[in-house]
């Protein structure tokens, strides 16, 4: 190695500076919202709350956790994420495993059948009309079934399964194990990282999706948190949207003017975000691999 030259040092210095700037710009909106959610609403209105809460309070969160509509939306989101992720990963992995077997009759046709959907899709309206026609409107399953099989994930699974060594399967077959037994007893335990990655991606999709419920769901008690949050952010009269809250408690707090529409909105946004933020850094190593398997296939 030769010594770094003067221009190299300048370049490295600039890169450090730029990356610190980028990290700051990326993190600041999140941090600022977090700070506002921990600050008294009335105090926030005075301006100048940036890096640290000035009048610290938990009250925004207390109000959020007392709002029955918000709590219900949370339950819907959690249920949707768990059920949707489990079913999606299960059906997609089974499909991928079947399609990874050379002896599967119709394998080529099935693959083309799947791949075609990546190049042409009916689009939003025909899907909407279909969901309507199936009688799924305003049902929990409208948020689960249409996106249950994701061909892209299937390809990632299949690529992974094909790379697994054959030996274990062969010896299990000699011992008389069927395909399903082999799948659940041997393949699944060997596929921890890819299952974790694709589950994370699917779960993030379900947790974050606000659009499909906004067109499929009308009942208030089936609306997930992101969709509700969108309604709250979009309406100017935020506090009246925080509806179902125990009226007495809210008016008491509004009188004290400790919470405002904005502070409540920020607290709700944080509650909708923090679960994901707590999870993803731990799976980072895996999802980097998952992204790579996916892009190699391209």
């Amino acid at each position: 190695m030769i010594k770094p030259t003067f221009s190299d040092r300048i370049m490295i210095g600039f890169i450090y500076f730029f990356l610190i700037f980028l990290a700051f710009v990326t993190f600041y909106p999140f941090w600022n919202s977090f700070v506002i959610s921990l600050n008294e609403g009335k105090d926030t209105m005075l301006g100048g709350v940036t890096f640290w809460p000035r009048e610290f309070t938990w009250e925004n969160y207390e109000v959020v956790f007392q709002d029955k509509r918000l709590l219900n939306a949370f339950l819907v989101t959690i249920l949707r994420t768990v059920v949707g992720t489990f079913l999606s990963v299960l059906v997609t992995a089974l499909l991928a495993y079947g399609l990874s077997k050379k002896e599967l009759i119709g394998r080529k046709f099935f693959m083309i059948f799947c791949l075609l959907t990546m190049f042409f899709s009916g689009g939003l309206i025909p899907t909407f009309v279909l969901v309507k026609g199936l009688g799924l409107m305003d049902s929990f399953w409208a948020m689960i079934l249409p996106t249950l099989v994701l061909v892209w994930n299937m390809i990632i699974f299949r690529t992974f399964f094909q790379q697994l060594p054959n030996g274990l399967e062969e010896s299990a077959k000699i011992d008389g194990a069927g395909n399903w037994q082999i799948f659940f007893r041997i393949i699944v335990p060997l596929s921890g990282p890819v299952i974790a990655t694709l589950s994370l991606f699917t779960a993030v999709f379900h947790w974050n999706d606000w659009f499909f419920p906004s067109i499929y769901i009308t009942s208030e008690n089936l609306i997930p948190i992101q969709t509700l949050l969108r309604q709250v952010i979009n309406s100017n009269t935020v506090t009246s949207q925080m509806g179902q809250l125990d009226a007495g408690a809210l008016s008491h707090m509004m009188e004290a003017a400790k919470v405002t529409g904005k502070s409540l909105q920020m607290a709700t946004m944080m509650v909708a975000t923090i679960p994901i933020i707590l999870v993803y850094p731990f799976i980072q190593k895996h999802f980097v691999k998952g992204v790579l398997i996916g892009s190699l296939k391209e």
């Binding site: 490295i12 990356l19 990326t26 301006g47 959907t117 190049f119 299937m154 952010i233 920020m266």
Partner: protein
């Protein structure tokens, strides 16, 4: 002469029967793919068939069987729509801005991260910049509104403190700022996560190339241009070509969430959002499906073109 075709058909029959028996022999294997294929059939292929309603005056009570066929009426209606030019312009301009800015940015980030030898710092920057990928557009739009708000939004506060402006600017209700805001929020959301692929490509460059370059006296700065960038060029080209197939995907959730105000529609409506407004908002199913089909067909053409280009560069997509 006569016996031959008979024997042939007999052979086919026998083979067919053989397949049939084989199919049931591996029925447990077939059972694994049946649910997945059924879901694809119902939720991907039936909507493809449903596209035919763009050639009808679809009536939800009559269904597709009984609705009247009207040929290309809805397509010509779209081409004569007073908003046609505006929507096509928004779609292409927004898409091009995203390609020009949001596509190269992750590559630059990966190149910069590659120069960092301090692993803890590198890891931290990576983790932080991956974060926005995992946030929903509702949250990102919420952050953007909060940052840009006239009511003590951080950007207005900062600009006022630096004496660049005297009065807070209502960025989100001025059409002239809209495209900048959309490109910036997209950049913010995607730069980190999209750099993963390029980081991996850089990691795959042979260390011998760097050694040879440094023996020849190339500085690190020069090595970046002479070794790293040429080595990852094939991957960059492939991803660039893929972007061509995406030309009409100018965004959807971001535009619906940040550009919903009536005053912004003239700069925020693209094909996808227009399909949504016309189809779901006004329940004009046939018209919206026609617009969607128009887009799908052009996208398919662009994708074919992209694959042709990729094949010529030595990498096929399919």
């Amino acid at each position: 002469m006569k016996a031959e075709p008979q024997a042939l058909s007999g052979g086919v029959k026998k083979r067919k029967k053989g397949k049939f028996v084989q199919y049931f022999k591996q029925f447990d294997l077939q059972l694994m793919v049946i649910p997945g294929l059924l879901f694809i059939l119902v939720f991907n292929y039936i909507p493809m068939y449903g596209v035919l309603m763009s050639f009808q005056d679809y009536n939800i009570f009559e269904g597709m069987m009984k609705s009247e066929w009207v040929g290309l009426k809805h397509f010509s209606m779209f081409f004569n729509d007073p908003r046609f030019v505006e929507i096509m312009r928004n779609t292409i301009v927004l898409s091009l801005f995203k390609i020009l800015i949001c596509f190269p940015a992750p590559i630059l980030l990966a190149l910069m991260l590659n120069e960092i030898k301090n692993m803890a710092f590198k890891r931290t920057v990576q983790t932080v910049t991956y974060l926005p990928h995992f946030l929903s557009w509702v949250i990102v739009a919420g952050f953007a509104m909060s940052m840009l708000s006239t009511d003590n939004g951080s950007l207005n506060m900062a600009l006022e403190k630096l004496n660049i402006i005297d009065e807070p600017i209502n960025f989100l209700s001025k059409p002239e700022y809209f495209w900048t805001i959309i490109v910036t929020t997209n950049l913010w959301k995607t730069i980190g996560f999209n750099s993963i692929v390029f980081m991996a490509a850089i990691a795959g460059v042979s260390p011998q190339l760097y050694e040879a370059a440094s023996l020849d006296g190339a500085s690190r700065f020069k090595q970046m241009f002479l070794v790293t960038i040429p080595s990852i060029m094939p991957i960059i080209v492939i991803f660039m070509i893929l972007e061509i197939g995406n030309l009409l995907n100018a965004g959807f959730e971001d535009l619906l969430l940040l550009g919903d105000a009536a005053i912004l529609r003239s700069v925020s409506d693209v094909i996808d959002t227009y399909v949504y407004r016309v189809g779901i908002g006004s329940a004009r199913y046939s018209y919206a499906t026609a617009i969607g089909l128009f887009k799908a067909v052009i996208s398919l053409g662009l994708l074919t073109l992209a694959n042709y280009l990729a094949r010529r560069s030595g990498n096929s997509l399919w």
